[in-house]
């Protein structure tokens, strides 16, 4: 029982930054803007979360600042891709580079230390928020029954995970049940059609990209304010790309991406429990499990298992044609 709870919580903890970011990516790509800068946006979120917390002393304000920073950072991508019709992949590459450089540069200036920031207050876990106290060891022993311990452990996760899960379902509703979502999807599928119906393509795309930055910022803040309590150089460590993978394997749908992220998170969490899982009598090295998201993405893209098709106008800058 305890093992199961730990496994579920570890899986969720590893998956949360993935699905939050993936959902962000979905908003951007559904509106037609390629976003390989998720990694950088996450990093910016992680960094400004810590900075915000460092100056305000409140991790919650830090979270807010992280989300704003992520959104603003994404706005750069939006302006360059939408207003200046530039290559969205190039812009994404530059943003990732900028995030990686800028965070360490500012880290050095603000904290005067290389590589890691000072420790800041973290966002309390659910058990702390709900006031569930860890029972003393003796008490557990005496009672011989560890319900309270179980409860404590079961609530030992960040509230951001809950926010993230809510985000998934809200995103699903927004995308598929609201006017805004319909217009956003139409813009990514057929920008010209949207334009001929009086929908502003660039507004929709700005919204999509900035939402992706906000969510990636949230995921970044989760990493720094919930998991570690400090910023480390390049701490997103490729999670933005796994989120990209989850988005693609999830076929640009929030709920599917959520499931894909859970799977990827599970694969990562497995490391904590089993060093070398054995499948059918063959030892599988950890690294092969880590590889799984990437390989799965390739397979899904190639159409070996259920073809994943991107939004039709993805990556195509929308230029109002002089001659139609």
């Amino acid at each position: 029982m305890e093992f199961l709870i730990r496994l579920i919580i570890s899986t969720l903890s590893m998956a949360a930054p993935l699905f939050i970011t993936a959902v962000g990516g979905i908003f951007s790509e559904r509106s037609g803007v390629i976003n390989i800068a998720l990694e950088g946006m996450m990093l910016i979120g992680a960094f400004f979360g810590v900075v915000g917390c460092f100056y305000t002393g409140s991790p919650w304000l830090g979270l807010l600042i992280a989300v704003i920073a992520g959104g603003l950072f994404a706005a750069i991508h939006a302006v360059i891709s939408i207003k200046y019709h530039s290559n969205q992949v190039v812009s994404g590459v530059a943003l990732n580079m900028l995030a990686s450089g800028l965070t360490v540069f500012l880290l050095d200036i603000i904290f005067g230390i290389k590589g890691t920031s000072e420790n800041v207050a973290t966002i309390p876990n659910m058990n702390a928020i709900l006031g569930v106290v860890k029972p003393a060891a003796e008490a557990v022993k005496q009672a011989g029954f560890d319900n309270r311990m179980l409860l404590y452990k079961a609530l030992d996760f960040s509230p951001i995970i809950l926010i993230g899960i809510a985000v998934v379902f809200i995103a699903h509703t927004v995308l598929f049940k609201t006017v805004f979502g319909l217009r956003l999807r139409a813009t990514g599928e057929h920008a010209k059609a949207a334009d001929t119906l009086g929908i502003s393509v660039s507004k929709m795309r700005y919204a999509g990209v900035i939402i992706s930055g906000i969510l990636a910022g949230l995921a970044g803040a989760y990493l720094s304010l919930s998991l570690t309590g400090a910023f480390r150089k390049d701490m997103s460590a490729g999670r933005g790309y796994i989120a990209l993978a989850a988005m693609i394997t999830g076929k640009w749908s929030p709920i599917n991406a959520f499931i894909a992220s859970l799977f990827f998170g599970f694969a990562q969490a497995l490391e904590f429990f089993i060093s070398e899982p054995v499948i059918l009598g063959v030892k599988i090295p950890q690294q092969f499990i880590q590889m799984l998201p990437y390989i799965l993405t390739m397979i899904v893209l190639a159409g070996f298992i259920g073809k994943s098709v991107s939004p039709h106008d993805l990556g195509k800058p929308y230029v109002k044609d002089e001659k139609l």
Binding site: K177, T178, L182, R185, A186, A193, L197, G198, H312, L324
Partner: protein
């Protein structure tokens, strides 16, 4: 009362005048045919009407009231709807979603899909446009997608609907359905502007027609007062008559033979229905026909870019043309060149040229791996330069230097580059499509001269052109293509404009015109 009138509309793009002082009016509750060849300026005019383009000059009146459209939104508000030639539909979205997009019912936060669905169903009932409101666009056939487009305009309360070549992508059954729908709409008080160059449809459904040629209005006539070949003549015009001096053809042996070619277009519809023809060496075989009747696909089949469903393409042997024909069906474009077939494509920007390459380079694309242009894979720039100098002189390509990028040349000179390159392959068979489209008059004459020379040197020439006069002047024999079939083949001497016009409209001799 006129539902709509446009007065003195002029629109210029860079150097091209797309619409030159166009004036036309559409009476309320009628179907008005707007006819003209590709590039005549119909689409530009309609995009102006729909607010997608702003005219340089001229005024638009809707219901006798002046209207200035800043964007499609204004046009929609004025009750104008447009069904574009290329559908403006998002594939993964459902029919209902596509229809309500941009003017969702009860503009609240949440989408009232149920209500939207009801509204769509109600509309589709009222006008007899039956579609499944929950189907995804990507899963329904073209004919239904078009209904969705029409519903889109009706949903927005359109009283004037522009249909931009709606039948180009439809099967004959679907066309029949569409015409029925249009009739129905007219009965329900909708005014329709119907753009097409399929004269049969125009004749059958419209109340009035306006013909546009080279950006100018040629005239507006009640449909009942004109015959199909009148329309055809108005469309093609007689003003571009060049009399090319040519002697009698010296017919040699077999050149190109097409045997029962059946092919599908990109939409998966059968667009060539058993096309068979023979082009002898030393003659020009002209294919006349209104565009979109399978010409493009025919070219692609011959040049290897499109695989036919059935049928064979055969060409004479390159070295010994008299030893019989070789089957080239299913070969790659490269192998087909090697078999002695050259090809001047219809769209030189899309296929014929690398616009970013200079003249020297464009003169050798697809020849570059051969001597003298390269040896052991290395390009001999001298050979390229010499070749260019030679061709520039021979073909009178007007350019600053042979290093000028193709995109900076005029249309005529670009075409000369393409022709020069294709002829330098020393083909036995050449397919020439739209050789003078967008080409200035001086170059037209030159290009025609070249085509005649080619014939006289014993090459089999297959000429495809939308310009009737070009076909009639150059060809030795003429075949008319209509809906993927060669309706009739005749000697050029027997061809008259009238005869061709009727055939182009799909009317065979002895068959009832309205069949």
């Amino acid at each position: 009362m006129n539902a709509l009138s446009m007065k003195g509309i002029t629109k210029r793009f860079k150097n091209v005048v797309a619409n030159d002082d166009i004036t036309f009016a559409v009476a309320k509750n009628t179907i008005h045919g707007l006819v003209g060849e590709n590039g005549a300026g119909k689409s530009t005019l309609m995009n102006i009407l729909y607010g997608l383009l702003e005219p340089d000059e001229g005024e638009i009146f809707v219901n006798e009231k002046i209207a200035g459209f800043k964007g499609p939104k204004d046009a929609i508000e004025a009750g104008i709807g447009m069904v574009h030639q290329h559908f403006m539909l998002a594939g993964p979205l459902t029919v209902t979603e596509n229809i309500i997009l941009g003017s969702e019912p009860e503009g609240g936060l949440f989408l009232n899909y149920k209500k939207a669905r009801e509204m769509v169903a109600e509309l589709s009932d009222r006008y007899g446009l039956i579609v499944d409101p929950d189907a995804r666009i990507e899963s329904i056939p073209v004919g239904l997608a078009q209904r969705v487009e029409i519903l889109k305009t009706l949903y927005r309360g359109a009283k004037i609907i522009i249909l931009d070549e709606p039948t180009a992508v439809l099967t004959p059954q679907e066309v029949r359905e569409l015409l029925k729908i249009m009739d129905n709409l007219r009965k329900n008080g909708v005014t329709i502007i119907f753009i097409s160059h399929k004269l049969k449809e125009i004749k059958r459904i419209t109340d009035e027609i306006t013909v546009i040629r080279h950006g100018k209005t040629i005239g507006t006539e009640p449909t009942s007062k004109v015959t199909e070949n009148d329309i055809a003549r108005m469309m093609v015009g007689r003003d571009v008559v060049f009399n090319v001096e040519k002697g009698k053809a010296r017919i040699l042996g077999q050149g190109l033979t097409l045997d029962g070619i059946v092919a599908k277009n990109d939409k998966g519809l059968t667009c060539l229905k058993h096309v068979s023809l023979e082009v002898k060496r030393g003659e020009i075989f002209g294919i006349a026909g209104v565009e979109g009747n399978g010409q493009s696909e025919l070219l692609e089949v011959i040049s290897g870019l499109r695989k036919p469903v059935s049928g064979n393409v055969m060409v004479c042997d390159r070295t010994n043309p008299d030893t019989g024909e070789k089957d080239i069906t299913g070969m790659t474009p490269d192998e087909i060149y090697e078999s002695g077939v050259a090809h001047v494509p219809e769209d030189r920007h899309k296929r014929g040229l690398q616009l970013n390459f200079n003249i020297e380079e464009n003169l050798v694309t697809s020849l570059i791996h051969k001597k003298p242009f390269s040896s052991f894979g290395m390009i001999c720039s001298d050979a390229l330069a010499n070749n260019a100098a030679e061709k520039i002189k021979e073909y009178d390509i007007r350019c600053g230097s042979s290093r000028v990028k193709a995109q900076n040349l005029s249309g005529g000179n670009q075409q000369k580059v393409v022709i020069a390159r294709e002829l330098s392959k020393q083909p036995r068979v050449i397919i020439i499509a739209q050789p003078t489209r967008g080409v200035d008059i001086g170059a037209i004459e030159f290009i025609h001269q070249k085509i005649i020379e080619l014939r006289d040197s014993g090459v089999a020439v297959l000429l495809i052109s939308a310009e009737l006069s070009e076909i009639m002047n150059l060809s030795d024999r003429i075949g008319v293509i209509y809906e993927g079939e060669i309706l009739e083949t005749m000697d050029a001497a027997d061809a008259t404009e009238e005869k061709l016009g009727l055939l182009m409209a799909g009317i065979k001799k002895g068959v009832n015109a309205n069949a």
